[in-house]
């Protein structure tokens, strides 16, 4: 119990004094996950919007597969990306393994199905409502998709926050492809895993505190967005 008190005190000190190591780890976590989020939004939102608005044979199977991929275990994603990027793998020539680039790729693969599936749902609901009006106005397809994305912007923001929450908190994928190398690929979750196993509870707790605060902020943002959406009758 005394150990825990001491560790907690030390952790708070690390946070309050903005310890350089701590900041470096938090900074890399944010950079990796934000970049992965940006990439997966760029890929998954147009894809989800297309899937939500187009009818084609086999669409149902694609939707089911996508929904299933939302639950991809991070370690499996890490393993697949590892195989891709390892020297013997098809993308081995890029020499990305054990770099932040590899971690970005892994997190992008992890959250792209999530962002795509949630986007598909949000846009499809909107499309169901707008479709007849748009046909009446003879809105061209690309204008319709742009309009759906814009009018669904608040739901899509919560979709993005969900993707970010998943990316920043996962450990399985980044630890396999990043390797938790100090000052290079060490992010919050891998550091917590490692420091805990090494017995450095203070650093692990400090990072845990930051991670939990981030989770709190993300959820508060989701709540605020929902509230705003309802107030402006955008829902």
């Amino acid at each position: 119990m005394h150990d825990l008190d001491a560790a907690l005190g030390l952790a708070l000190t690390l946070v309050v004094t903005a310890d350089a190591d701590l900041l470096e780890i938090v900074g890399l976590s944010m950079t990796v996950s934000m970049t992965a989020l940006a990439l997966s939004c760029a890929i998954a939102m147009p894809f989800g919007a297309l899937l939500g608005t187009c009818r084609f044979p086999g669409r149902g199977a694609v939707v089911v597969a996508l929904n299933a991929m939302m639950g991809l275990p991070p370690v499996v994603v890490g393993l697949l990306v590892y195989l891709l990027l390892s020297n013997a793998g098809p993308l081995g020539f890029l020499h990305l393994l054990y770099t932040p680039g590899a971690m970005i790729i892994a997190q992008t693969v992890l959250i792209t199905p999530i962002v795509a599936a949630l986007t598909r749902q949000a846009i499809e609901d909107l499309h169901t409502e707008y479709a007849e009006q748009f046909r009446s106005l003879a809105v061209p397809g690309h204008v319709a998709i742009a309009a759906l994305l814009w009018d669904g912007r608040w739901s899509l923001l919560t979709v993005a926050l969900a993707g970010f929450g998943r990316a920043i908190s996962e450990v399985g994928a980044v630890i396999i492809v990043g390797g938790n190398i100090n000052h290079l690929t060490r992010v919050m979750t891998t550091a917590i895993a490692l420091e805990t196993s090494k017995g450095d509870l203070a650093m692990a707790l400090a990072l845990g505190l930051v991670l939990m605060t981030l989770a709190l902020v993300v959820n508060a943002l989701v709540f605020a967005v929902r509230h705003q959406t309802e107030r402006h009758a955008h829902a």
Partner: protein, 255 residues
């Protein structure tokens, strides 16, 4: 008036033509329209000819197929059988159509942005034009409000302004004033009247006999997917020819 074709009284003839539109080719010729869903006939051999520039009222009990007929004529639903022929514009292209739905679907944007969206579709996003349209429906001072926070009547007026932004030659209105406040009903009737004055062909679904009298040139009475009669407005309300319409007007439920 005798047909003066071949004579030299050209100005007189032009004037006469612009007044008497009954000589123009009809705006719409629909024949043998059938819509069948799962063996049910929702529209049954509907033949309809509409005069250009006329306002046609469509009446009939709930479920008669009025909304469905509008959708088929507007091209939103493909009929199982039958043909719809709209008169083409001068350049041979189809004439522009717009529809005000029974339940308005507004974009999740400001009042102004709802109009701008439609103006933008035709490449003439124009602030002044938007303001004129909003003034027409009495929403000029609400331009920056979220459209979905408007009252039901205001939403329907915005939907009408958006339809007018299309500058349609044919305008469909599906019970646009059902369950609206009297002020909004007046606004909408005024706009419909002035739109008619500009020569727009209109199809107007309503249950309101007074409104049908005020706005309609003729009445089409629909019952169980069939056209029972198509009668000039004045005659219809004095003496409808079909027994279904007679019973409907007498306030009986037509089953």
């Amino acid at each position: 008036m005798p047909d003066s074709a071949g004579s030299s009284q050209l100005p007189a003839r032009v004037a006469a033509q612009s007044k008497d539109r009954s000589r123009e080719p009809p705006a719409l010729c629909a024949s043998g329209l059938v819509v069948e869903v799962e063996g049910q006939r929702l529209l049954d051999r509907v033949d309809l000819t509409l005069r250009s520039g006329a306002t046609t009222i469509i009446m009939g009990p709930n479920g008669a197929g009025k909304s469905l007929l509008l959708r088929v004529l507007h091209g939103l639903i493909q009929p199982t059988a039958g043909t719809v022929h709209w008169r083409t514009a001068g350049d041979g292209r189809p004439q522009r159509q717009a529809m005000v739905f029974q339940k308005p679907v507004l974009l999740r944007r400001s009042v102004a942005a709802n109009i701008d969206f439609v103006l933008g579709l035709h490449g003439n996003r124009n602030r002044a034009r938007r303001q004129v349209l909003l003034q027409t429906v009495g929403l000029a001072d609400r331009a920056q409000q979220p459209a979905r926070l408007l009252s039901g009547g205001e939403q329907q007026r915005l939907a009408l302004a958006r339809a007018l932004a299309m500058e349609p030659s044919v305008l469909f209105l599906d019970e646009p004033t059902a369950s609206l406040d009297p002020a909004s009903v007046l606004w909408i009737e005024d706009i419909v009247r002035s739109t008619r004055g500009r020569g727009t062909t209109m199809l107007f679904v309503t249950h309101d006999v007074g409104q049908a009298r005020r706005l309609g040139d003729e009445v089409v009475f629909l019952h169980r997917g069939q056209v029972c009669e198509q009668t000039p407005s004045a005659d219809f309300f004095a003496a409808p020819t079909s027994s279904e319409a007679r019973r409907f007007l007498a306030g009986l439920i037509v089953l």
